[in-house]
């Protein structure tokens, strides 16, 4: 067999040949720099300017926005809403996801089909899902709202998304419906990868199914659960689509999250420096929570 000679032209420096990692990594790095790092830096720089509402001029005033943001009650409200939204959605999605995964984890006929159906909500555009629930939650002709009204829990023609006390649960309903299947899928993958032996041993020792679940399944699934919570949690902290479409952060500021507050400033009074300040605060929140979470639960993606 003839030995092929390396085809590299001798005058080329080594770092632009395929033996060197640089050419492989460069395109992705360029994309992430130009469209990620550069806008991020300019967003930060813009927060160092104060926008004069009357003259629309930008005045250099480095701590103006950052002082303002921590004294802004609407920001604290948005932060609270974001945290409530994230934790409620996570708990529901995790518990429902686990229960449904346990239910559907079977090799019997039809279960594979049901598992496939379960994945469908994941790929509907969230903005479309939001419209779907907007219609179904309409007090006068929405099928879900009518169902709740029929049980007598809510008065006739009650507008779930129009009332400050029920708007957030209404938005959460769409969120939970669309993303519980995400947890189901991941939990199913976790359940299917569990070894059989410990369960057989436990059954011989007379353990009940409930005991086996808490003593064996949950501990063995901890890594899977942590990864699922991390990925879902990051997306929840930047929740935007459902809130924007279903309530536009309202009524008032009842469903305003950090991201939607930032968007509202952007579209509203066009105070771009302050919109960026809120947006960067969201980024900081995501970084801190995910870092703490990854350290605490020793998760590595």
């Amino acid at each position: 067999m003839s030995v092929a000679v390396a085809t590299r032209a001798p005058w080329l420096p080594r770092f632009i040949t395929s033996e060197h990692p640089l050419p492989w990594l460069l395109p992705a790095a360029a994309l992430m720099t130009v469209f990620g790092i550069y806008p991020l830096i300019s967003a930060f720089i813009s927060t160092l300017y104060r926008k004069n509402a009357a003259t629309r001029k930008l005045i250099f005033d480095p701590d103006y926005n950052w002082v303002k943001v921590f004294g802004d009650e609407r920001m604290w409200n948005a932060l609270m809403n974001t945290l409530i939204y994230t934790s409620v959605a996570l708990v529901f999605q995790l518990v429902l996801g686990m229960l449904i995964a346990l239910l559907l984890d079977s090799d019997r006929k039809g279960y594979g089909f049901m598992r496939a159906l379960m994945t469908l909500p994941l790929v509907i555009p969230p903005a479309v899902t939001a419209m779907m629930f907007l219609m179904m939650l309409n007090g006068s002709f929405g099928v879900i709202a009518q169902g709740i009204i029929w049980t007598g829990l809510l008065p006739d023609n009650f507008s779930i998304l129009g009332d400050a006390s029920t708007a957030l649960p209404g938005v959460l309903l769409a969120e939970i419906w669309q993303w519980t299947p995400f947890m189901v899928l991941i939990m199913l993958a976790g359940l299917r990868s569990l070894p059989k032996e410990p369960f057989e041993a436990a059954a011989i020792d007379g353990a009940t199914n409930v005991q086996a679940f808490f003593k064996l399944t949950l501990p063995m699934m901890s890594k899977v659960i942590a990864i699922a919570v991390l990925i879902r949690g990051i997306d929840l902290l930047r929740a935007f689509d459902y809130v924007k479409v279903m309530t536009d952060s309202g009524p008032g500021t009842a469903t305003e999250t950090l991201t939607s507050y930032s968007g509202r400033i952007y579209f509203g009074n066009a105070d771009f420096p302050y919109a960026s300040t809120i947006a960067l605060l969201t980024l900081i929140l995501v970084i801190i929570t995910s870092t703490v979470f990854m350290k605490a639960f020793k998760v590595k993606l």
């Binding site: 395109p27 991020l40 952007y266």
Partner: protein, 302 residues
């Protein structure tokens, strides 16, 4: 786990009911799309099946027919103007162009980096991986405001130049999908033993040859799965499209314009919404096998 017969039946029934519950909104949406307007807006009760099905909503949104003209033709008493505003043909074309373009860019850029991160050991490898992961964690809103300014400066706002507008959206979607595609493809490269390319290189192949001729063909399935996920995420994206475009309308943004001051056009919304789900459904069923791996950035395998 063995169950007694009644328990097994109970489980089957519960599983079917839960699945049906999760399918209900999709079913209801599709049902609404074939309802005449009188059955959607019924103040007295929710209309289930007692209506005459109509395709008028699809004809208006997907085929650009004029609703008032159709109403006259069919002898219905609902002549409302505003045909062009609901014609979504251009929207669907825009969405497809952008999603396909973004997917192509993402895969082209990510596949090389994924290979290098899987195969080569070099200084800064961990940092690069953390950078990619950090990119996934970054809320798009954080870069949005400067992005609008940058795009205006480069003439990439779609009001200035529609083609550059397409490219602008493709590139930003590519950035958003890059971490998923990169980490997912890396996990597929990791599955192939290193001996494979080492053997090729001992035979005299360059890195490039061992990548393009030997390893890449072995991970075709993984690349396809990554591409499908990128397509779906681009197809469903809302926030960036909402802020960055004015003339170009992707489906999730277009559908919001059917919310009008005189009332929401639920029939049209349902028709376009149902149509928008179909490509996603088909694609996702194609990659069922790799879905979990994709959604967890390659860290969980099925």
């Amino acid at each position: 786990m063995e169950l007694s017969r009644p328990m097994q039946i109970l489980r089957d029934v519960t599983a079917a009911l839960v699945t049906a519950l999760f399918m209900f909104p999709v079913f209801w949406w599709a049902l609404t799309s074939i309802k005449p307007i009188s059955a959607v807006f019924n103040k007295d009760r929710v209309v289930w099946f007692d209506f005459t099905p109509t395709l008028i909503n699809y004809a208006v949104t997907l085929f650009g027919r004029s609703r008032s003209q159709m109403a006259i033709d069919e002898g219905l008493g609902m002549g409302v103007a505003g045909a062009e505003a609901y014609d979504s043909r251009q929207t669907i074309v825009d969405s497809i162009i952008i999603s396909v373009g973004a997917t192509t860019v993402t895969i082209l850029v990510a596949v090389f980096a994924a290979y290098a991160l899987s195969r080569m050991r070099f200084q800064g490898r961990e940092s690069y991986l953390n950078w990619v992961l950090g990119q996934r964690f970054m809320p798009p809103i954080a870069i949005l405001v400067p992005l609008v300014t940058i795009y205006s400066g480069l003439g990439m706002r779609d009001i200035q130049n529609i083609y550059l507008g397409y490219i602008g959206l493709m590139l930003i979607y590519a950035l958003m999908n890059l971490p998923i595609a990169l980490l997912l493809m890396k996990s597929f490269f990791d599955d192939i033993p290193k001996d494979v390319d080492e053997a090729a290189m001992i035979d005299g192949a360059t890195r490039w040859q061992s990548f393009s001729k030997v390893v890449l063909p072995m991970v075709r399935g993984g690349v396809a799965a990554s591409a499908v996920l990128c397509f779906v995420f681009s197809w469903t994206e809302f926030l960036l499209s909402l802020f960055l475009t004015t003339d170009i309308r992707t489906v999730p943004v277009k559908i919001q314009t059917f919310v009008t001051s005189t009332g929401n056009e639920w029939g049209f919304i349902a028709a376009l919404g149902t149509a928008a789900m179909i490509p996603s459904f088909i694609f996702i069923l194609l990659v069922q096998r790799h879905l979990v791996r994709g959604l967890t950035l390659g860290s969980l395998k099925e």
